[in-house]
């Protein structure tokens, strides 16, 4: 049986904290992976999996389940940490992240990982796949909701706007896109000096893009779990048009020395950095175990 978990805001924040801890440990063990984007997505993933989605970890292919597509696939470890904590596979399996024969590949693979509804990795494609799931649900008369998360850098891709047009043209109100607007991409735009990197979209440009494509836009603090929950609840009431929740986030959120630092897009922490990061996240024992 699929069901939605009911969690308080405090519980959702705690799940988000645990997701962040597992992200850091897994990247440390794998000696590879991304950190900044996964940390900015953690609160939204907590809200979806522990407070919104109608799912069954015991039966990850239940035809009536809600779907989630991580279109910003390079943040895979955030999704794996979430799925493990939600019970799709053992948390201990996160130690196999990014290794040969692991079910937890560098980018999400729908053919091997329980709970991964759609492969992704080439940016923009997961969004198209998610739109297809939503259109398919309509064609097949299924009433589940499809959630898809995109990065703001990912919105550079033309295919995102191909899909945004089609979704609005069909009035797809069974899909909710969450845009992780953390204002930094891998290399991105140069600011006042070569050391400064700035947002691909200035001011309201990103939210306005989605509005211009006739999506209902809800802007939210992407680290306020109660606000995210409220935004998703509101999104589910919108009829006749797709909804984009533009979540204002901080890349590297939760670890002071990683926040807003483009260098932590994909970087493996040293022993000391891991210990410091885990201490900040309330795991004083530290270490990867």
């Amino acid at each position: 049986m699929t069901q939605t978990m009911t969690s308080t805001a405090a519980e959702l924040a705690e799940y988000a904290r645990q997701i962040r801890v597992q992200i850091l440990k897994a990247v440390y063990v794998a000696r590879a992976g991304h950190i900044g984007g996964p940390l900015s997505a953690a609160d939204m993933l907590s809200v979806l999996y522990f407070g919104v989605m109608d799912i069954d970890p015991e039966n990850p292919t239940d035809p009536d389940r809600d779907r989630f597509v991580l279109s910003k696939g390079h943040s895979s470890i955030a999704l794996y940490a979430t799925l493990a904590l939600r019970g799709y596979f053992p948390v201990d399996e996160l130690k196999t992240f990014d290794s040969v024969d692991s079910r937890l590949q560098g980018h999400p693979d729908q053919t091997v990982t329980p709970g991964v509804d759609m492969s992704s990795g080439s940016l923009g494609l997961g969004f198209a796949g998610a739109l297809g799931i939503a259109l398919g649900a309509r064609a097949a008369g299924k009433d589940f909701t499809t959630y898809v998360m995109l990065g703001d850098g990912e919105c550079n891709e033309g295919v995102v706007w191909e899909g945004a047009h089609v979704a609005a043209r069909y009035g797809l109100d069974n899909i909710i896109a969450l845009i992780d607007h953390n204002k930094l991409q891998q290399f991105g735009w140069t600011g006042a000096s070569l050391d400064e990197r700035i947002s691909p979209y200035l001011g309201d440009q990103l939210a306005n893009r989605w509005r211009a494509f006739d999506w209902k836009v809800i802007e939210v603090d992407g680290h306020d779990v109660a606000a995210i929950l409220g935004a998703v609840d509101e999104a589910k009431t919108i009829e006749g048009m797709p909804v984009a929740i533009v979540a204002h986030t901080v890349k590297g959120k939760g670890v002071s020395f990683m926040e807003n630092q483009p260098g932590w897009h994909s970087k493996v922490p040293t022993d000391q950095e891991l210990a410091d990061a885990l201490r900040e996240l309330g795991e004083p024992e530290g270490g990867a175990q």
Binding site: M118, L125, A128, L131, G132, V159
Partner: protein, 316 residues
């Protein structure tokens, strides 16, 4: 042998998917704004509720097809011009359709040389090599309307991605209504003893004419039609080659890595045989009337016959 002119493969495709959908409610059709050319309009007229216009946005369309295929056993049939399937949507096909073996059938129209005065942007000579190189992909190039319908019906019984190479012009009928198609099987069109010729798609009709010409000169062609370019039955290719010990491949597509490449890969490893590859010589095309294009790009029956004669002469 005189062949009767039949329908274009695109019309046969439109009719086949429409008929299949009459008794298969899982079929949905996605069109990239080419339905009046590639003939998914036939389907739309009969099954409007299962026809989705996704506009001129091919990468999104193929990505959406992959998503639809994960819901309730839906079988998305996606149609646009071959050039846009293979080049424009390659990334979506590779990652979301081929890698997970999504049950998506791709109807690539206007493939090859004869694409109605479109020119080099649309003339797709390298679709077979590109799609053949993709793991998990099945590549089918039917030869006539009968085979198109039979192959589409067979593909609907197969759970996985299939690329159909379809062409624009009216096409001579090669097979009768009793024809049985099986994915991966070759078809011996003519038994012969001097040289084995492999061909695929509607080009086989021109090869039949060439074989007739050559028969008049005392050259006995063993002609094998290859509707499924991948997977390709190694044993059948080897057996056909060994019948004569000399092989010519001919195709309405590039000689780099296409049908000829596939045959040469098999024979070089399992039964080394002198192989001549005939087709389009690693160049791009241009616009023009079909007849003029066939002449300039060397794909008439006379050109095929010349290739066979040359190969025989070189291996006396």
């Amino acid at each position: 042998m005189t062949l009767t002119m039949g329908k274009p493969l695109r019309v046969a495709m439109g009719e086949a998917i429409t008929e299949a959908a009459n008794h298969n409610d899982r079929i949905v059709v996605l069109d990239g704004d080419t339905g009046s050319s590639t003939r998914t309009d036939i389907f739309e007229a009969a099954h409007q509720d299962r026809f989705f216009q996704l506009g001129i946005a091919e990468m999104n369309m193929f990505g959406m097809a992959a998503g639809m295929a994960t819901v309730e056993g839906l079988i998305p049939i996606v149609s646009t011009f071959s050039a846009f399937v293979v080049s424009r949507a390659h990334d979506a096909i590779r990652i979301l359709i081929a890698q997970p073996k999504a049950n998506v059938k791709m109807m690539a129209g206007y493939a090859g040389l004869l694409a109605g005065s479109t020119g080099k942007t649309h003339l797709m000579f390298d679709d077979v090599p590109i799609m053949r190189a993709m793991a998990h992909m099945t590549v089918i190039a039917p030869g006539d309307e009968i085979e198109t319908k039979a192959a589409i019906n067979a593909s609907l019984e197969y759970d996985g991605p299939v690329y159909f190479r379809l062409t624009r012009p009216n096409t001579p009928i090669l097979f009768d209504e009793d024809y049985k198609f099986e994915i991966g099987k070759t078809v011996t069109v003519r038994e012969g003893s001097d040289v084995t010729v492999f061909s695929s798609g509607p080009h086989t009709a021109r090869v039949i004419e060439a074989a007739d010409l050559l028969a008049g000169e005392g050259i006995d062609v063993h002609l094998v039609h290859v509707p499924t370019i991948k997977p390709l039955a190694e044993d059948e290719v080897v057996a056909a080659a060994n019948k004569t010990g000399l092989v010519v491949t001919t195709e309405e597509g590039t000689i780099v890595g296409g049908l000829g490449g596939a045959i040469a890969e098999i024979l070089s490893q399992h039964s080394p045989t002198p192989v001549k590859l005939h087709g389009i010589n690693d160049i791009f095309g241009e616009s023009g009337p079909d007849k003029a294009l066939l002449e300039k790009y060397g794909l008439t029956s006379h050109h095929v016959a010349t290739a066979v004669r040359e190969h025989l002469a070189a291996n006396k």
